[in-house]
């Protein structure tokens, strides 16, 4: 009997520790989310919000090409950014983990993530100056005689992708490096003993074992990239709109909060789908 009471008391004690986090989550996530979901079913008419329960905002999203293309543009850019970031980050992480002497690895990592220390907005504007018609790249190519006319590198999708990749390569380098340094050298020795060459060892042993690091970084890249407003706004030149820009248009220009709420719910559903797709690699495992 005493044992049961002790167990109940311990359980209550545990709840008391968890309760603040649960209350915080409810007040600052669940409740606002439910309110946003409800608002997405309302309608903006004239100067005010009409509290009807209809799917009109969602229907408009699929019917109006300019809105729907916001999602497809977001998905295309995010996919391109994620693939390029992985392709650049993996070799960098591998070089730091495998080729840089251990005592210099921390310094190498700090150098790799140095751009993180500057403001995100400043970094985007810096890229605009680098990529512009009179920017460093065009001027260098013109001076070298490689081109006769400046390349159109700014204010388009290329500029947006470059700005994103610069940022997310740093993030992916960290997650992949963390995974690589945990691998025992015995895996490679065993593969070599079994007759595998360097490529086969990488393809069949190292790459599968570093998938959690890749997928964790890829998922973070996807979530941060698809929800970003600043980079496409500064570097894209408004030549195509991504979903967060369209959400901002509803809020800043039209004051159409119900439509903005509906678009935000759609964005959350896309992120949720991405999480489900990556979930098997995102488990926290301790071995």
């Amino acid at each position: 009997m005493a044992h049961v009471s002790l167990e109940v008391a311990e359980r209550r004690k545990a709840w008391s520790f968890v309760a603040p986090a649960l209350v915080w989550t409810f007040v600052f996530f669940v409740a606002p989310f439910l309110f946003m979901a409800a608002m997405s079913l309302w309608e903006q008419q004239g100067g005010g919000i009409v509290r009807v329960w209809k799917l009109n905002n969602y229907i408009a999203f699929f019917e109006k090409d300019a809105l729907f293309r916001g999602l497809t543009n977001s998905l295309e850019i995010t996919a391109i950014v994620t693939v390029f970031s992985i392709l650049l980050a993996y070799p960098l992480a591998w070089i730091i983990a495998e080729r840089v002497p251990q005592k210099y690895q921390r310094t190498a990592l700090i150098l790799a993530i140095l751009p993180f220390w500057t403001s995100y907005v400043v970094r985007s504007y810096s890229w605009l100056l680098v990529l512009s018609r009179n920017g460093v790249i065009n001027q260098a190519l013109l001076n070298l005689g490689v081109i006769s006319e400046p390349l159109e590198l700014a204010s388009n999708r290329t500029a947006t992708v470059i700005g994103f990749v610069h940022f997310f390569v740093m993030l992916l380098t960290l997650t992949i490096y963390a995974n690589l340094v945990q691998l025992s050298p015995n895996y490679r020795r065993a593969a070599a003993d079994l007759g595998a060459n360097a490529f086969q060892t990488f393809w069949h042993v190292i790459l599968p074992l570093t998938m959690p690091g890749i997928m964790t970084g890829a998922f973070l890249t996807f979530v941060l990239c698809i929800g970003d407003y600043v980079t496409p706004q500064i570097l894209g030149g408004n030549n195509e709109l991504v979903l967060p820009q369209i959400i901002m248009l509803q809020l800043g220009r039209r004051a159409d909060f119900p439509m903005a709420a509906a678009l935000s719910i759609i964005l959350m559903l896309v992120v949720t789908a991405a999480y489900i797709a990556c979930a098997r690699w995102l488990k926290i495992e301790r071995t």
């Binding site: 109940v8 709840w15 409810f26 916001g70 018609r133 009179n134 700014a154 030149g237 809020l251 800043g252």
Partner: protein, 364 residues
Amino acid sequence: MTDFIAGISAPRFLTFAATLALAAAAAALTSEPVLAQDELNALVWCDHTDPALIEPFEKANNVKVNLKEYEGTGAGLSIIDQSRPGDWDVLVIDGVDVQRAVDKDILAEIPADALPNADIFPDVRMEANNSRDGRIYAVTEKFGYNTVSYDKTKVDPADMKDMSKLWSEKYKGRIAVYDYYLPMIGLTGIDLGKATASLTDADMPAIKDKLLALKANAKQVSDVVSSQTALATGEVDIVFGGGEWLTAGLVKDKPNLDWTIPEQGAVRWAQSIGVMKDSTKKDLALKFVQYIVSPEGQARLATSSCYWAMPANAKAGEHLTDEQKAALRWNEQADYLKRTQLYPIPTAELDAKMQDAWTEMLQN
């Protein structure tokens, strides 16, 4: 404490904690704002946030002016809708939208003798916009033009006198379009020979086609800062929709930048300022409005760091340097006022169609 926690069930504890948190949140949301008596809340455009404009008023009246910027009347009215009565004391609003604010009954009447009406340039007094039934609800404080800004060392200034040249192959990829649908639809309409005041649904297909053609010819569609940066750095040679507000502040360092009003005309904007009806500090709010439309306040507002433009009060000229007046084209205003039209004033339905057309233009 542990005994207390152990003495209640987990679900009850959670309910208790959640209720406490919600009660605290509700109390925070419903209680009176914790503001000192000497604070004034103003919903404004970015030019009012210049400390050089606000600090003299704050010091003279021992008051803190809290400023919130907004962009677009719809967004401003929405902020007011979501605020409690009395939250805002002063409102800066597009001159053509004052009547929307009057319709919503959010502006207080301003006594005529409290304003320097005789000193306001007659063409921008805009009584039909700022008053109703003989009652004054706002006063024009600043005006300017959405027209064509350009780098005169890179384009032929003669070309800039013909708006249709902006659609020509000659300037393809060299134009930034100002990202604000109302003046740009007005300008596009003017190029099509349609007066801004008479735009209807029927005009929108032609305007949309014209906008899409403009986008195809443009390098970018951008906000004030990005357009200004693009012109200053040589990324583009022309900003369509720009004007003195975009280039006047830069002329000192960039004398190659210029602006003009094409033969077809251009769009004129004007901003008004008024006192909020539910303000609990109406006297102080009126004092702020009076400061803004005073010659000194007007000179500071005209040369605000966010953007320059003509002051509505003619006496502001006494407080501006010759250089500043030249940048504002002080002596050419009579001609400019004749050749420009006010922003379109669409109904809610037409406004939605205009915004749809603008979004489609951005997305294509």
